[in-house]
């Protein structure tokens, strides 16, 4: 990546002249060095905290200079409170909860305007639609994050291990979830990367939970 900074040079109208990759949360830097590459498709295995963490990284609260928007299509169940807890600026979100049959048209429209489009297709998308939307993402320099399978995705993020803490038998409350997230695919540079994360931590934010100990124990066991 030539341009590491997420904040490009700005002209006076507020649109970045030079667009860098879409920023990610600091805790996800290990998985996605530099950020989400623009113009590419990335898949996540399921709706939940992981796609919301990508949203929170792209439109962080308190950084008004970046003219980046994020659209969420076909995910009426995504917890906006959780996204806000991870640091997302909800003012920069556009939700299309029930696009129905026209989800592909909706995504195509949004790719021209939003830097990050998160979509859950209602079923396995036909090859024609996949190609068309992939091309549109490349053309507009937007990142398309798909929940589920996508033919030709550059990168795949998966939660491979997950454990909630804080809950006892009859008392306590959920404190945080330690997960292992693995990134693989053509965009990962050959070798899968993985990271232990608090997704989310006790205050709702995402933090690294680098337990090398756990890793080595697993390898030994």
């Amino acid at each position: 990546m030539a341009m590491r900074s997420s904040v490009g040079v700005q002209d006076y109208s507020g649109s970045p002249l030079v667009a860098g990759p879409i920023p990610v949360l600091p805790a996800l830097q290990g998985l996605l060095p530099g950020g989400l590459p623009r113009g590419q498709v990335l898949t996540v295995d399921a709706a939940g905290a992981l796609p919301l963490a990508l949203v929170a990284g792209a439109v962080p609260a308190g950084v008004p200079t970046v003219d980046l928007w994020c659209a969420v299509v076909g995910l009426p169940e995504s917890g906006m409170l959780a996204a806000a807890g991870m640091g997302a600026n909800l003012d920069r979100l556009v939700l299309v909860d029930r696009p129905g049959e026209r989800w592909a048209d909706v995504v195509a429209t949004l790719l021209s305007a939003a830097g990050l489009v998160l979509v859950q297709p209602p079923g396995p998308p036909p090859a024609g639609i996949t190609r068309r939307l992939t091309a549109l993402a490349r053309q507009h320099g937007a990142a398309l994050v798909v929940v589920g399978h996508w033919e030709g995705a550059r990168l795949r993020l998966q939660v491979t291990s997950s454990l909630w803490t804080g809950l006892e038998h009859g008392h306590g409350h959920l404190q945080g979830r330690r997960v292992k997230v693995v990134a693989d695919g053509r965009g990962a540079g050959g070798r899968p990367r993985s990271a232990w994360l608090w997704l989310p931590g006790p205050d709702g934010s995402v933090a690294g939970a680098d337990l090398g100990v756990v890793e080595s124990l697993e390898a030994a066991g």
Partner: protein, 508 residues
């Protein structure tokens, strides 16, 4: 000074909400009463009161949300009958309109007769109303409020008529607060002050209030070279339905503002003209004593089109006569723009590209399909987020800052089901777990069965009881929440209500 007939429909928000004037009912916005019925007023409910205070005075109070769109739609019926009598109806806001008095007063022989005629036709339509006549629409609106049914203030007497009114009628709460503390309690006191001093102390807005108090127009009309067309218009080919036209209206309003702004002007009255494919054109004047911002203007176009769509005009082949071919916004009353300074780079809420994309999707799927999330108050994770349709105003939602005792603790679940899904919760012997009215759990949950899939429980907590809106039997809920972690690494927010277990959210 132009003579104006103002027609005022009292308590319009409650009328539009469909409340019976004989039962106590209020309309609430931001936790405060914005309008109430006569029955509610009798027991001491007042505008501006807190909802809680109003409810304390009257236990069986009917509460409605403030729905400007519905108010505008219903007011269209009033406008239609007034328009049949006198031309150039100006809508000040839903519930209040103004008509120039000169023409009707000549036709009906006197201003009183004209005002009575207007009032009679609106009352014949079934709406309670009052009509007042005075110099300028501000004074006329106050004249309409004089009991029992409005008065005619003779020409030149307006300042004297206004003098005893409290400064609060200026509808500038901040200014009124300062004035009252300075001992200036009535419009007469304010009018007695020298104009340059008022301008020096209170700025442009204060000077405007001063002019109103003296019975003058809020802003002196601006003179401009004749023949200059400041209107913004757009033609549609093929003809469009109402919904897309509203989006066009927004950009037109921006264009209009740019036209005016580049000349240092602003407008207080805008004419919206819609031409349909069958060659008809409908116009409506919209007035605002502040300045009409472009979203406010687009909103008015939406009210207008919505109302026309809902009640097709006589003789038109269908709603909007088969489609809109042209929309024109013309500044009807132009004034010098004084004392309004935008921030240096402007303050845009949404970038143009996003605005356009959202607009296109709304055309595809309907107005409510594109939303923006807003954090609001509530206990459950679903209640704490409200989704507001794109383009609607983001205020008028419950404040998130208020304390919500019994709120589900952080972190929030990442998957919140729009509709809670049924689930089976059993103990280690396979018997359903129940929660008694005293919040005693029959046995520790050992397994949950979600859509036929059994999941072993590794940890649980609860019950967290919530007794919501107990004061209103129709919406009262009594429920208890549980957090349950299962062996597949997920955790769940369950709620039990009326003996039924539901999954409210999933911590995934």
């Amino acid at each position: 000074m132009t003579r104006v007939i103002a027609l005022w429909c009292p308590d319009w928000p409650v009328v539009a909400a469909g409340a019976d004037p004989r039962t106590p009912a209020i309309v609430v916005s931001n936790g405060r009463v914005t309008a109430c019925t006569a029955a509610a007023r009798e027991v001491g409910v007042r505008r501006g009161q807190k909802l809680r205070d109003a409810q304390r005075r009257c236990a069986d109070l009917e509460v409605h949300d403030d729905d400007l769109d519905a108010q505008a739609r219903l007011f269209e019926q009033v406008i239609a009958v007034v328009e049949a009598l006198c031309p150039r109806v100006e809508v000040i806001r839903p519930g209040l309109l103004a008509v120039p008095a000169r023409g009707p007063a000549r036709y009906y022989r006197s201003e009183q007769a004209a005002a009575d005629t207007v009032r009679d036709v609106v009352e014949a339509e079934g709406f309670e109303c009052a009509a007042g006549v005075a110099d300028g629409s501000f004074a006329a609106a106050l004249a309409a409020r004089v009991l029992p049914a409005g008065i005619v203030v003779p020409p030149g007497e307006t300042a004297r008529f206004l003098a005893p009114h409290p400064v609060s009628v200026l509808d500038r709460p901040e200014l009124a607060g300062v004035l009252v503390r300075l001992g200036i309690r009535t419009l007469g006191d304010l009018a007695a002050l020298p104009a340059p001093d008022v301008l020096a102390r209170f700025g442009a807005d204060g000077a405007l209030a001063h002019r109103l108090a003296r019975g003058l127009q809020a802003r002196p009309p601006a003179t401009r070279p004749p023949g200059e067309d400041l209107a913004a218009a757009m033609s549609f080919d093929p003809p469009l339905d109402a919904e897309p036209v509203v989006f066009a209206a927004k950009s037109l309003a921006d264009q209009l503002h740019e036209n005016l702004g580049s000349r240092g002007l602003a407008c207080v009255r805008v004419e919206v003209e819609v031409t349909t494919s069958d060659g008809r054109s409908w116009t409506r004047l919209w007035r605002h004593d502040g300045l009409l911002s472009s979203p406010a203007l687009a909103e008015r176009v939406r009210w207008q089109l919505d109302a026309w769509r809902a009640t097709p005009r006589k003789g038109s082949p269908g709603p909007l006569g088969g489609g809109v071919v042209r929309l024109r916004l013309a500044p009807d009353q132009v004034v010098v723009d004084s004392g309004r300074q935008l921030s240096l780079w402007g303050s845009r809420v949404a970038s143009d590209a996003v605005e356009r994309a959202a607009g296109r999707i709304q055309v595809m799927l309907g107005h409510a399909a594109v939303t923006r999330p807003v954090l609001t108050g509530g206990r459950g994770p679903g209640e704490q987020v409200t989704k507001i349709p794109w383009g609607d105003r983001l205020d008028s939602v419950r404040a998130a800052k208020a304390p919500w005792p019994g709120r589900v603790p952080n972190p929030a679940p990442a998957v919140v089901h729009p509709e809670p899904q049924p689930v089976l919760v059993v103990d280690e012997y396979g018997r359903p777990v129940t929660v008694s009215g005293r919040c005693e759990v029959s046995a520790p949950p050992a397994e949950i069965m979600l859509a036929g899939e059994p999941l072993a429980v590794t940890g649980w907590t609860g019950p967290w009881p919530a007794h919501e809106q107990w004061w209103d039997a129709a919406v009262a809920r009594r429920l208890a929440r549980f957090q349950v972690a299962t062996d597949d690494g997920r955790a769940w927010l369950l709620l039990v209500e009326g003996g039924r277990w539901l999954v409210e959210a999933c911590y995934a």
